[in-house]
C-alpha cells in the first residue's frame, strides 16, 4: 500500500511539474493583472478584450495569462511576482494602485518588462501607459452642450483624483464652447464600480434636474436608468449601446489592443524600451462609439471636433484656462496646459460651482 502511495505521489509531482513548465520554450509569455472581474463590462473588460485581440493577432507565438480581482494591497506584489515566476516576460498591470508593487517586482527582475497603466513611476524595465480620455470628454461636452434642453449636466464621479477631475473639466470646457452658461451637478459614488450605487446616483441627478448623464464609473447602471427615464447619457469604458439603444449619445471606449499589439511586437523583436505612452484619439487608444441619438448637425459638430483634436488643431485645455475662483492658470505648454499640469489637475474650471471634496 505504501509503495502505491509513494508511486502515486511521485507520478502526481512529476506530472504536475511537467505540465506547469510544459509551455514551449520559444513562446513569449505575456501576463495581465486585472483589478476587477473580467465581466465588469467596464475597465477590466476592455483590457480583457484587448488581451484576446493579442491572442488572436499573434496566435502561437505568444501565450497570455491573467489574474483577475487582484486587490491593490500586498497581494498585488505577490500576484505580479507569481506571473514572473510562471515565466511571463512582459507583464501589464492595469490599475493605478499597482504602481509600487510593480516597481518593487521590476527592481527584482531586471530581465522582465513591465507596463503599468495610469501611473507615473517608471524604471529601465518598467514603462507607463494611459489614454487621453479627456479628449473624448471634451467632445462629449460639446455634444452635451448642444443636446441638453435645460442646460444642466449630471456627472457621476468615482473618486476626486486628477484623472476624474480632468475629465470633468474637459467636459465643461467643451460644453461651454456651445453653451457658456452650462451647469453641472456632481455626485461622488466613492467607488469605481457599484451598479446599485451608480443607479441611485443617476436617479438622484435626474431628479435634481439634470437631463444628460455622464459617468466616470464602470458599470452600465447609469445608462440603464437614463434609458428608463427617457433621458440621454454617455457610456464609459466600453460601448454601452446595448443598455440604452435610444439613450446613448456616444461612449468613450478604451481601446488598448493596438497599444498592446505594438508592445508585444516590440518585445518579440527584442526592441522593447521603457516609455511613457499617453495617447488619445489620434493613436486610436481612445475611440468614440458611433454618434447616435442626435440630430445630424450635432453629429457633424462632434465629428469635426474629433477631427480637429486628431489633427492637433484643437486642444481641450487650450489657454487661457480659468479656474473656478477666477484665477487664470499658468500656461506651461505654450498655447495649452502641458502634460504635467493635466496629470496633476486639482482644480475645477470656471463654471463648476461645487468644491472638490477633500481639498
Amino acid at each position: 500500500m505504501r509503495k502505491i502511495l509513494i508511486a502515486a505521489a511521485a507520478v502526481m509531482v512529476t506530472a504536475g511539474a511537467s505540465l506547469l513548465s510544459a509551455s514551449a520554450a520559444d513562446k513569449l509569455k505575456v501576463g495581465f493583472i486585472y483589478l476587477g472581474p473580467v465581466g465588469d463590462f467596464g475597465w477590466t473588460y476592455q483590457h480583457e478584450v484587448a488581451r484576446q485581440a493579442l491572442a488572436k493577432e499573434f496566435g502561437d507565438k505568444i501565450e497570455t495569462t491573467y489574474l483577475e480581482n487582484v486587490s491593490e494591497g500586498p497581494d498585488a506584489e505577490r500576484s505580479i511576482e507569481q506571473l514572473v515566476r510562471a515565466g511571463n516576460k512582459l507583464i501589464f498591470t492595469t490599475s493605478f494602485g499597482y504602481m509600487d508593487p510593480t516597481l518593487k517586482v521590476a527592481k527584482k527582475y531586471p530581465n522582465v518588462h513591465f507596463e503599468h497603466a495610469t501611473g507615473f513611476k517608471r524604471d529601465k524595465n518598467m514603462g507607463t501607459y494611459n489614454g487621453r480620455f479627456y479628449e473624448g470628454r471634451y467632445i462629449q461636452g460639446v455634444i452635451a452642450g448642444k443636446m441638453s434642453k435645460v442646460g444642466v449636466l449630471g456627472y457621476i464621479g468615482s473618486f476626486p483624483i486628477p484623472e476624474v477631475i480632468m475629465g470633468m473639466n474637459a467636459t465643461m470646457l467643451g460644453a461651454q464652447t456651445v453653451n457658456p452658461n452650462i451647469k453641472v451637478k456632481i455626485i461622488w459614488a466613492n467607488t469605481w464600480f457599484d451598479p446599485g450605487k451608480e443607479a441611485d446616483a443617476a436617479k438622484a441627478l435626474l431628479d435634481q434636474g439634470a437631463d444628460i448623464i455622464m459617468q466616470h464609473t464602470d458599470s452600465p447602471a447609469a445608462m440603464q436608468i437614463a434609458s428608463e427615464r427617457g433621458k440621454l447619457a454617455f457610456g464609459q469604458d466600453s460601448d454601452m449601446i446595448k443598455f440604452g439603444p435610444k439613450t446613448q449619445l456616444t461612449s468613450i471606449i478604451d481601446n488598448w489592443a493596438p497599444y498592446y499589439i505594438a508592445r508585444v511586437k516590440a518585445e518579440l523583436e527584442g526592441k522593447w524600451q521603457t516609455d511613457n505612452d499617453w495617447d488619445g484619439l489620434k493613436a486610436k487608444m481612445v475611440v468614440m462609439a458611433p454618434y447616435t441619438n442626435m440630430p445630424d448637425d450635432v453629429k457633424k459638430l462632434a465629428m469635426d471636433t474629433e477631427a480637429a483634436i486628431i489633427a492637433g488643431k484643437l486642444f481641450p485645455f487650450k489657454c487661457p484656462v480659468v479656474d473656478q475662483d477666477g484665477k487664470t492658470v499658468e500656461c506651461k505648454g505654450g498655447d495649452h496646459l502641458d502634460d504635467g499640469q493635466v496629470l496633476g489637475m486639482n482644480f475645477y474650471v470656471k463654471g463648476i460651482d461645487d468644491k472638490i471634496p477633500g481639498k
Binding site: 472581474p37 473580467v38 465581466g39 455626485i187 446599485g196 443607479a199 438622484a204 447602471a221 443598455f243 460651482d353
Partner: protein, 303 residues
C-alpha cells in the same frame, strides 16, 4: 422632485425589506442566520440566469427563491440536524454564497434583460404625487409590502405563528408541550432563505437589469441590522427599511446640493445611523428583552 425621491427610496428599500422580513421570521423562531448576504447573492445570480434563459421575470424570481431556499437548507441541516454553532455556519454560508454566485454568474456577465415592468393603471397612476407611488411601481415593491403584512398576520393572528414565536422564546417548553421545534425552525429558516433569494433576485430583475459579481454590496448585512433595529416587529421593520433606504438615497442628493461635507462621511451615514439607533433601542429592552429569548442557542431535543 419629492415624488421622484420617494420613488427612489421605495426601490432602494425593497430588497432590504424582503430580506429582512424573511430573517425576522427565522430569528423569531430562535435561529440566527448570518448568511443572508450569501443567500441574497446566490439569489441574484440564479434569478438573473433564470430570467435570461427563459425570457420571463417570474421564472427568474422563482429561480431566485429556490436558490435562496436551497442555500438555507444547507444552513438548516448544519444548525438544526447537527447542532452546529449558528454564527460560524452563517458566516461560512456567506463566504460560500459569494463564491458560488461568482461561478454561476460568470456565464451571464455582459448580458441584459428587460427589467420588470411597472404597473400602469390609466387614471390612477397619473394622479399627481401619489399616483406613481401607489399605483406605478413594479411587482416586487407591492410583493414586499404584501409579504410583510402576511408575516405580521401569521405571527400575531394565527396559532401557527404563536407556536413559532414560542419556539423562539423558549424552545425547551415548546418541546415539552409537544411542538416539533426543529421542524418549525426548518420552515422558518427556509422561508428566510426564500425571501433572501427573492430579495437578491430583485436587484438584477428590476433594479439594475444585469448581473455583476458582488452586486448585493452588503445589503444582506444591512437586512440583519434592520431586524434588530425593528426589535423583531414587522411594523417597525418597514419603518427601518424605508429609513435606511432614505438615508442611502438622500446622501447622494445632499452631495448634489454641494453642502461641502466629505462624501465619505455621507456614505457612512447609513451605517453610523444603525449603530446610533441600536443603542437606545437595545437599552429600552433591558427591562424585558424583546429579542426571542432562545435566539442563537442550540437546541437538541432530548428523548
Amino acid at each position: 422632485m419629492l415624488e421622484a425621491i420617494v420613488l427612489s427610496v421605495l426601490a432602494a428599500s425593497t430588497p432590504l425589506l424582503i430580506a429582512a422580513t424573511g430573517e425576522l421570521v427565522t430569528e423569531r423562531s430562535g435561529v440566527l442566520n448570518l448568511g443572508v448576504e450569501g443567500m441574497m447573492i446566490v439569489g441574484a445570480a440564479c434569478g438573473f440566469g433564470g430570467a435570461w434563459l427563459s425570457g420571463s421575470i417570474i421564472v427568474g424570481a422563482l429561480f431566485g427563491i429556490v436558490a435562496g431556499a436551497l442555500m438555507s437548507l444547507i444552513f438548516a441541516v448544519m444548525t438544526l440536524a447537527l447542532a452546529v454553532n449558528q454564527v460560524a455556519t452563517g458566516l461560512a454560508l456567506t463566504i460560500l454564497g459569494v463564491g458560488v454566485s461568482g461561478l454561476i454568474g460568470a456565464g451571464f456577465v455582459g448580458e441584459r434583460i428587460t427589467p420588470a415592468p411597472h404597473l400602469y393603471i390609466p387614471g390612477l397612476t397619473d394622479i399627481p404625487f401619489v399616483g406613481h407611488i401607489l399605483f406605478g411601481e413594479d411587482a416586487f415593491v407591492y410583493l414586499s409590502l404584501a409579504l410583510l403584512i402576511g408575516v405580521w398576520l401569521f405571527l400575531y393572528r394565527t396559532r401557527a405563528g404563536l407556536v413559532l414565536r414560542a419556539a423562539g422564546d423558549n424552545h425547551v417548553s415548546a418541546h415539552a408541550l409537544g411542538y416539533p421545534v426543529l421542524r418549525i425552525r426548518l420552515f422558518a429558516v427556509m422561508f428566510g432563505g426564500a425571501c433572501a433569494g427573492l430579495a437578491g433576485a430583485y436587484l438584477p430583475l428590476a433594479y439594475t437589469p444585469f448581473f455583476i459579481p458582488g452586486m448585493t454590496a452588503g445589503r444582506g448585512w444591512i437586512a440583519l441590522a434592520l431586524v434588530v433595529f425593528a426589535s423583531w416587529r414587522p411594523g417597525r421593520l418597514a419603518i427601518g427599511a424605508y429609513l435606511f433606504g432614505a438615508v442611502t438615497i438622500l446622501q447622494l442628493h445632499a452631495q448634489a446640493f454641494s453642502l461641502g461635507i466629505p462624501s465619505q462621511f455621507m456614505s457612512s451615514l447609513p451605517y453610523l445611523a444603525t449603530v446610533i439607533v441600536l443603542v437606545p433601542i437595545s437599552r429600552a429592552r433591558t427591562g424585558g428583552s424583546t429579542a426571542p429569548a432562545a435566539l442563537g442557542t442550540v437546541f437538541v431535543p432530548d428523548r
